[in-house]
Structures are given as C-alpha cells and as structure tokens.
Symmetry: C2
Subunit: 284 residues, 2 copies
Amino acid sequence: MIDHLAILAPGLLGASVARAARHFGAARRITLWARRPEVRVQLKSQPWCDAVADTPADAARQASLTVVCAPVDQIVALTSEIAPALPAGAIVTDVGSVKGEICRQGHKALPAGRHFVGSHPMAGSEKTGWEHGRADLFQSRVTFVTPLPETDPKAAEAVAAFWTALGSDVAGFAPDAHDEIVAHISHLPQVLASTLCASLAKRDPKWRNYSGGGLRDTSRIAGSDPKLWKTILEQNRDEVLRALRAYQDELHGMERALANRDWFEVQAILERGRAYREQFRPIP
Amino acid sequence: MIDHLAILAPGLLGASVARAARHFGAARRITLWARRPEVRVQLKSQPWCDAVADTPADAARQASLTVVCAPVDQIVALTSEIAPALPAGAIVTDVGSVKGEICRQGHKALPAGRHFVGSHPMAGSEKTGWEHGRADLFQSRVTFVTPLPETDPKAAEAVAAFWTALGSDVAGFAPDAHDEIVAHISHLPQVLASTLCASLAKRDPKWRNYSGGGLRDTSRIAGSDPKLWKTILEQNRDEVLRALRAYQDELHGMERALANRDWFEVQAILERGRAYREQFRPIP
C-alpha cells in the first residue's frame, strides 16, 4: 500500500486513479493538485480526495508516489517543478501515451534517490475531464510500465504493484518498445478513425445517419480530443509514420486487388484481418 | 399487415425479419425456405415460423411479400426461380447490401403484375446464422428501399410500410445512389477495419492484447464473414474504389502533415473528424 499518493493535474485518468486507489485501498492518503483554482475547490469535496494542494510541489512534498496526469507535453515540466520538493525514496510516474522522451527526461529531471518510472494505462474514453473518472477504469486493462535500464528496479516494481492493485494487468517494456507498440495498436487506429470521418465529411454529411453499427464503432474514437491527440502524434511522430506507411501498403494492396478484380486476394486480405481480430483476448 | 410472408434463405437477417414480423404483428402467416434440409427441420419448431417449404417456389407460391435473404450473388437467381410461381400482385424484396444490378435484374426477372423492390436494412452483426436472429434487430435502424423509376409506386410503398412495421426508419433512394452511399458509410469502414487487422497481423500478434477500447471498436467489423464481404465488394467494386481513393487522399494528407511536422494541419484534420463524428444521430 502507498502511504501517501499525490495526483497532479487530474483529468479522466487522474480522477480514476484516485477513485480506484480509494476503492481498492491502494493508498492511505490521497492529495490532489489541479491547475485551475475552481477545480481545486470542487475536488475538496470528493470522497476520494483527502487534501488539495495549491502547488504541485506542495502536493508531492510528502508523497511516496506522485502520478503526473498532465498531457504528454507537460509531464516533464511538472516533474522538474516538483523535483526539489520530493522526499527521499519518492517515486514519480505518469499516464502519458508516449514514453521514450518522457522517461529519459523524467529520469534526468529527478535528483539522486528519487525515481521516475513511466506508466501508460490503456484505458480511457472519448469523454475527458475529472468528472468522468471511474474506479473501475483500469479493471482488466493493460498498463504499460516502462523502466529505463538505469531505473531502480525496486521503484519499477512498486509502480507495477500500484497498477496491479488498481485492477490493471501490467506489461513491462522499454520506453521505445512501448512507443512502437502503441503507434500500431492505438495511434494508428486513431489516425484511421479521424481520417475516415474527415474524408466522409467532404461528402453528404446526412449519409452518416444511415449507417449501422459498423461505421459507428469504427469511427468512435474520432470523437476524441483533437488537441490531446495532436500532441500525442507529435511526440510519437516517427513511430506513427512507420506504422502508417506499413498500413498504407496494406490498403494499397487491397485497392490493387479491387482494381484488378483479384477476388481471391481480396478474400485473402479479409481472411487475414478476421484471423487477427478473432484472437483478441476477451474483456470481461 | 402482410397476409402471407415468405422468407427465403434465412440467416441472421431473414430470421430477424421473421421474428420481428411475428413480434410486431406485421404478417398473418410466415413461410420459410432454407437451402439445407437440416435447417428446414430446425425451423419447423420455431414459434415465428408457420410453415417450411421444400422449394423456394413452394414458399413463394401464395406469398403477397417474399423476402429473399440469400447472399448478394444469389438474389437474382432465387428471384428468377420463384418468378413463375408468384401470384398476381406479389411483391419480392431482398436484404442485399448492394442494389444497382440486383434491382435492375430483379425487375427484369419478374413477369407483369409481380413487383421487385430492393431493400437493404442497415442492421446486422459479425455473428451470422439464423440462430442469432432478433426481433429488435431493425429497431431504430435505417432500411434503404430502392425502387427503380419503372417500379410500381404502390409496391415500393408496401415494402416501405413493411420495414416501418418492423421498427425500421425507411430511407428511399435510387439503387445506384444507394450503392454510392453504402460504399462510403459501410463498405469503406469494412475495408479499413479489415486492412488494419491484416496490417497489424504482420507485426507481433501479442500486441493486440495490450490494446484498449480504441483498437477493439475500430476493428470490430474485421470479424465479419470474409466470403460474404468479398461478394459485397465484388458487386460494388466501382463505388468502393472511388470511396477508397478519396479516403487514401485524406490519409495521405495526414501522412504528409506528420512528415512535414505541420501540427496545425494535423490538428485541423482531427478537428474535422471530430466535428463529423459528433453529429451522428443518437441510437437509443
């Protein structure tokens, strides 16, 4: 159990960490800090919040574990800001969707005896905001924990144990390996859903109202926050471009098969897609 | 109310038509015909089936409305097969995903005083088979009804009224206009979901188990029947190719913006995608 948990900049994920930590008894005391004063006032009355700090450093000052929940382009700055206040042995983690640069810079930003260990829970919603937080958000979802070779193994273990306590299945990877994986299984699907909708928007927009469940599901994540995703794509540009180009080859193969009336190849692509889809592990 | 409804080759859609017709009291008598003798035996004991015929012609012989539920490449052949048996004034419709050729040939296949009117309910599931049929499958879903200029307007109205009685929202379009629309809102999403999975299958297949809800939803329809979809893509090849090429332009625009680090353009594409996605009519 974490003695004192600090959560900085809670949105959907941060509020869910707080709710889950309270629900599963994963932390004795939970302190939050939010950038906007009016949110700090609202957080004070939440049952999963023991204290609200006025600055990030004040929130982290006594915390054995601090979870930085800011957008990916602000995680390193917040980590640097709290670095001087951290107690000996303190661990800092985050929930950012991209890990390579954040882990390298987070590690450098902390003084000796304080540990940065990157995390990325594969949970979320196209709904953002701390009001939508849920104690069961991490239940049966994978959370990546991404230590560098120079990361203290005990700190990495503590972060993994925290996510496990919140109901998550932990997957350990080097930060760069993580970035390659999520470029394929998260950032590429986002690009496809968004460009599908952007492309359909150029035709008659009323058409969408004729669609069945297929377009609705395929395009769901296109409803996600564009600013947030711009930043994620920015931070993981090289891996996303690699995944996108490999995908475009596949799509071009389908176009060629259709153009050539090569129905054997069309069906072979559909079969390969189905074989992959059928092996998803079931989510309870 | 339809006096005598015949349903030929019931799979998920045909069984759902039968169940819904019984549930909503849309037909007095329901006769089914299935190609496989063992299915005919099983159908006999279903409460939404009054009689099972041994041949398509026998099923349609007294039917005021016959719904042909065979795959798109067998609809015209079945329509021709029952044509000589149809009573005066009989109407034949189908549930095929492509309409242009089927409607033109279906119209030609029937003698004077018998009417072919194409239908396409935008409902389904990656689960196929009559056992998965549901009385509420068409509830609040759009069903296209696609008369030709030469189609008897009263017959088109009767088919529209039938789908309305089953809970569907009817949309009337010329068959070719229908094919252009579904190429964009149904066939293109299928191609994207299938090629996404086919592309990811070339990397480490274990990665899929790390995915959150995003990839799961985006790829759901990749689990659909490849043979069925090969036939749909074959029948609507020209429109699908047009929609796919327009989409590839959009995707290439995203690739270029990422390659050029044009984050303003990346965000603009994401914004356009979200604006489109947010305006989907809610499904109850």
